[in-house]
Symmetry: C2
Subunit: 368 residues, 2 copies
């Protein structure tokens, strides 16, 4: 893997050269990880034309799921515990006589930027902006392999939960059980706090589990994601509790199912980012649920839970091959509940079979 | 409680007036919570001489453990999902013709600061620095009551774990069980990921639980904290597994126990911050463990896991009454393991009985 990291650093060097910077200071955790593979928390990377210096707190362990083998091209610069790694990297830039240092202005606070400017000697600070985030959009097959495993872990945990008794258990307990099962199956950790919403809490995009217990006749929405070697996925399903779903439940579930399928089927290289959202949203709107579905359809996912590209109604860029995205429409009827169905997929061209579905748990309306 | 929040805002207004700002924009989550009690994630507070405007994402739920009743003096400004609340608050500042707006330069990124400056109309941006953090150092009795409950929750979870069979279980499982038990006992959530280290992993300050199983003869270090209504505590204990601790284990545990007691007993209003660390460290040094104990003795704790004041060897300020701090020395012998013992206490004067111990689980060397 250290070859892949070296290749990523090389692409960033090319970007820096083209934009007039002779070095870059990377502070955003996901970006440091992308470029080095094994950063402890709080690390910062100084990348010059011929060096890669990783400033990291002394004695710190690698991040969860991080690789422990050393990357031969990366020099470690130990930083005393509680000191700022970006400051140490800035001092290294001064020693290396960096002239134009590109920094991540969307990550550095104003106060930290001031300190970096002071310590970087005669270097002039430029804005690297989201250059590394842009490199991260298209994934290589190593990254996609990790995403597949993350999806498998979430599917396993969800599958086991569906075989257990749910009535009478609280949202909080179900959420914790899913989290525990994902870790049992090898996840670094949950990609985000598991959301379990039952009854009137179902169908919400981000619901914090409460002490409400699952009851007969409830919709139950579960949203979960595993993180494996740093890479996370996200999935959501909605089920009904008890043998006989009500007519409105069957109808609403079918509607969201169709909208989600339309969104998935619209994915492809070269497709404008708003097109999958349009496809899903028009189905929900035609059924009169425009105001019950406010969020963007989905977003990129990988080292961060939400990354580029966004799949919202106003997003104009084009999708690329090998970009993992979520597709997760939902309808929530205040006071009654609702349905959310979300998958993580990888954009692939039609000749490779179209979008690759990573989260394969059934999307049928199971009556549990 | 909204009276207490109003009083806190009034103190911040006085600080702003004195420093020449007619308004403050608060973006740091713990600070927004301190001043309003009920912010959803991503909220920002604009505080002018006569108004408090809370910009918050539409439909967002309050943070875990947040209060749900409205504060009559706080106006809510709904912000579209995915938009930046700080930008909305900056636009409100422009409408209210703010002239000098103090912002949190240690929290705002350079990119967000630029957007705020652009949207704030003719307002000039100043640095509020850590003014709210400084207000937060001394806690009121409401806050200390929440901290007491958080400590009780962690003690209960730990007590239950000690009654169960530990040999053969993995660090990860024990950590997850502690987290679950804290939530069962009413915690909002764990204040930080529970750390369980056994055998050669024991005695480390921040150890990520692994799949290593507890074995006879191991030291077992557990570090945990509960968060209750936003307020967190931190505690650590080290036990030995099996009936007969080795002589080196008894000796090392006794040493850290004495160092920790010396640190606790040195706490008091008016005491310089480095004094408790000196007291503990000199005992470890006299026993030849200078290089095995690198961290500061402790730090303030409350809405954030680490807040002012820090109790390190070079910290020169003085402790105040009613400041909750951690006291947690440790010794780790690479390859063998070690001992950490940490409490959360509230600084109190001798006439009130001295430091108030919140985390009351025994610090004896239990053989489990």
């Amino acid at each position: 893997m250290s070859d892949a990291h070296a290749a990523r650093r090389e692409r960033l060097r090319e970007y820096c050269s083209a934009s007039g910077a002779d070095a870059a200071l990377i502070t955003r955790a996901a970006n440091v990880r992308y470029l080095t593979g094994c950063p402890p928390l709080g690390a910062a990377l100084l990348l010059t034309r011929d060096r890669a210096v990783l400033a990291a707190p002394e004695g710190a362990e690698p991040e969860e799921g991080g690789e422990r083998q050393a990357d031969p091209e990366v020099t470690r610069l130990p930083v005393p515990a509680e000191a700022d790694a970006a400051s140490a990297a800035a001092e290294a830039a001064a020693r290396l006589r960096v002239r134009d240092l590109a920094v991540e202005e969307h990550d550095l606070t104003v106060a930290r930027h001031r300190t970096v400017a002071r310590l970087a000697g005669t270097a002039r600070l430029l804005d690297l902006d989201r250059a590394v985030e842009r490199l991260r959009v298209v994934k290589d097959e190593y990254e996609i392999a990790d995403l597949r495993i993350a999806a498998e872990i979430a599917d396993q945990a969800l599958g086991e939960l569906l075989e257990s008794i749910l009535v009478g258990r609280t949202e909080r307990h179900l959420a914790m059980e899913l989290e525990r099962r994902m870790i049992d199956h090898g996840a670094d950790r949950a990609a985000f706090p598991v959301s379990v919403g039952t009854g009137s809490h179902s169908g919400l995009e981000q619901h914090q589990p409460t002490d409400r217990r699952v009851e007969e006749g409830d919709f139950l929405t579960v949203a979960l994601g595993a993180r494996y070697r740093g890479y996370g996925i996200s999935t959501a399903r909605t089920f009904v509790i008890g043998a006989a779903p009500a007519a409105w439940q069957v109808e609403l579930h079918r509607l969201v199912f169709h909208a989600q399928r339309a969104g998935r089927e619209a994915l492809g290289p070269g497709v404008e980012q708003h097109v999958p959202d349009d496809a899903a949203r028009s189905i929900l709107q035609a059924a009169g649920h425009a105001e019950h579905s406010v969020h963007a359809l989905g977003h990129g996912i990988g080292l961060e839970n939400r990354e580029a590209p966004r799949l919202g109604p106003a997003d104009m860029g084009k999708l690329d091959n090998r970009v993992p995205v979520t597709v997760g429409p939902g309808v929530h009827l205040p006071g009654r509940g609702g349905v959310r169905i979300e998958d993580t997929l990888v954009v692939r061209p039609p000749e490779e079979g179209g979008p690759e579905l990573l989260t394969i748990t059934t999307k049928e309306l199971l009556a549990l």
